[in-house]
Symmetry: C4
Subunit: 210 residues, 4 copies
Amino acid sequence: MTIDFRQAEKELISAGVRLDHLGLAPATSGNYSIRLNDKEIAVTVSGNHKGKLKSGDFLRVDMDGKALEDKKPSAETLLHCQIYKCYEKAHAILHTHSVAGTVLTRFFADKDFITLKGYEMLKIYPGNTMNTHDISVHIPVFDNTQDMVELASRVDIVLEERPDLSVYLIRGHGLYAWGETIEQAEYITEATEMMLRCELETLKLKGAMR
Amino acid sequence: MTIDFRQAEKELISAGVRLDHLGLAPATSGNYSIRLNDKEIAVTVSGNHKGKLKSGDFLRVDMDGKALEDKKPSAETLLHCQIYKCYEKAHAILHTHSVAGTVLTRFFADKDFITLKGYEMLKIYPGNTMNTHDISVHIPVFDNTQDMVELASRVDIVLEERPDLSVYLIRGHGLYAWGETIEQAEYITEATEMMLRCELETLKLKGAMR
Amino acid sequence: MTIDFRQAEKELISAGVRLDHLGLAPATSGNYSIRLNDKEIAVTVSGNHKGKLKSGDFLRVDMDGKALEDKKPSAETLLHCQIYKCYEKAHAILHTHSVAGTVLTRFFADKDFITLKGYEMLKIYPGNTMNTHDISVHIPVFDNTQDMVELASRVDIVLEERPDLSVYLIRGHGLYAWGETIEQAEYITEATEMMLRCELETLKLKGAMR
Amino acid sequence: MTIDFRQAEKELISAGVRLDHLGLAPATSGNYSIRLNDKEIAVTVSGNHKGKLKSGDFLRVDMDGKALEDKKPSAETLLHCQIYKCYEKAHAILHTHSVAGTVLTRFFADKDFITLKGYEMLKIYPGNTMNTHDISVHIPVFDNTQDMVELASRVDIVLEERPDLSVYLIRGHGLYAWGETIEQAEYITEATEMMLRCELETLKLKGAMR
């Protein structure tokens, strides 16, 4: 499966409008990419608002994150490359920031995963081969850093163990979600964020009703 | 009352845009239908985002949920058929997913109903024959399953006892709402979700102020 | 000051779009009016969604709420008439439903007012003659009923004592706000609802941090 | 860097639409400005809704806040002038009102700062010279008053000590944020408000889980 750079731009622009509308792209946060072919990825350049992306706000990088044109890729491009290498089926990646994800990963500062269990929405995950709500999904949570090489090395260990995965969280930072298409990546993002909001509300309710 | 398939598509597309705008259609969740005539129902096909429906994302099924064309109906089509059979007046059904409904039905894991009492918004329910806020409405909550036949059999028992009903909830899953028109089904959905948010906030407040 | 019926329709339609966008017009809730002249009021007819009003969804009533054409006015038209009679300066009234207002008035089931104190936003109230944030505004809260005559009689006692007032609440129901123009009524609605959300969050925070 | 008055109007109108969409401009709250050149500032006139600004809703003032045309500037124009004087790089200022900022500054009534720590979003602040999430940012909180001269004198003491600053809060009132461009000011506003919402949710969660 290959996709044209202009088409990738269009799809990523549209995803940004949607994610911003959902409150998942505050300020210049987030970065998005599409796998163009075996050797190239289209990724957002650094520093723009993802709800107002336009043609030209993207560049080609190779599978190691090296810019193939004279623009500065998002700082976290390496994490995108890593996902494409680990998951042959991944063709689009969305990285978003949300209140629920930020609050939960910071609050449980020692936990290296968040467990989602018993939600109908869990059916969104393609790794859920039983296609049922009645499972536990452990979303990995990685401590944040500005050292992408170091972070990637920690992420690598987990990705290798989890061929089923389609999301992970970075603590106090945000969500990475990937899919076979940009639509699937977007649906996985929406569903995951909805369940994280449910978790946050449930915890407050548990405290209140104790 | 009969309605043309194209008109039904238009009305369901419009309902999806609205429900998505209200945050009630995350990812590919939900399914919507309209009763076309005595023998046919128009229902959403499986797997699309309900905020971006277009002509062609619907199919005709018979009153037993059997597809009348070569498309895959939503998994829960059987539940739609059941409602149309039980409630002669029902001509449109909307099934939505929300944070408040998901959190409340999961939190009260053993309760098979949620009671709404004393809300002005209760006047939205046509079964509220006294047309007053000063009543208690018990919304049935069914445990979730992927076995639609089994779920339908449990739902059936309750629907038969409740000719007044226009909504029910599935635990950790979502809301079913129906009306004589798509507008009425949509208003009942909006009003119910608003009261569920009130319930959630009230519980947190009660805990906080104890 | 007089205003043409068509112009009043336009302004009320536009207010409805705005209030719906703010989540203050769920389902068919709310009703809006404009004083046309000394003897007539334009008010929403009963039962429409206020976010989708169109020309024809309004009618003229006299100052006692009697319909001047063959349409059914909102059930609460009497409350509009009462406000126009008590407040000579009032030329537009908006009645909205919100989660915060509903939750707070129900939670404090015995309190007949909600006090807002120390908010910069309090400057929105024209009765705040010192034009300062540093005051206490007591918003009356009336118990809900479907008997408009009885409700109006209780409201009357308070309105007569409070020439400064531009809002009141009905318990488990919603907000009435009025102004010299539709814009002012809308701003007072927005500001009041924002402060009610602040009150709700503050109460939860107080409980949590106790 | 100079900017044309008409261009400044366009940029401020657009910022208002965005901030209103984010719920940061309820009623007529807030005021916005752009530094036109060494001697003039374009600032919103008093009393309009910031989500519906149009050409003509702005005026030129000098660096002391004196109106250069026959319109009434926002009451807080003096605070804008002060920021432009203290921060040579500041070319745009946005003042907004939010639930989270209002609730937090009121709840911690004795604290003269709010500390944000460990958020990836902290990278938005240009004063964060290490460009890292792993810092503590102390946002000053000033007690509210209607006496702008007195408030400005208190603000002045802090601004002089904090050349790194790009935001401050006024208690029970709102946020001031500034940047080298209107885009940067807007991003800083969005990011700060997102972190304040995180703080509010975290506090409730801490209380609930205690």
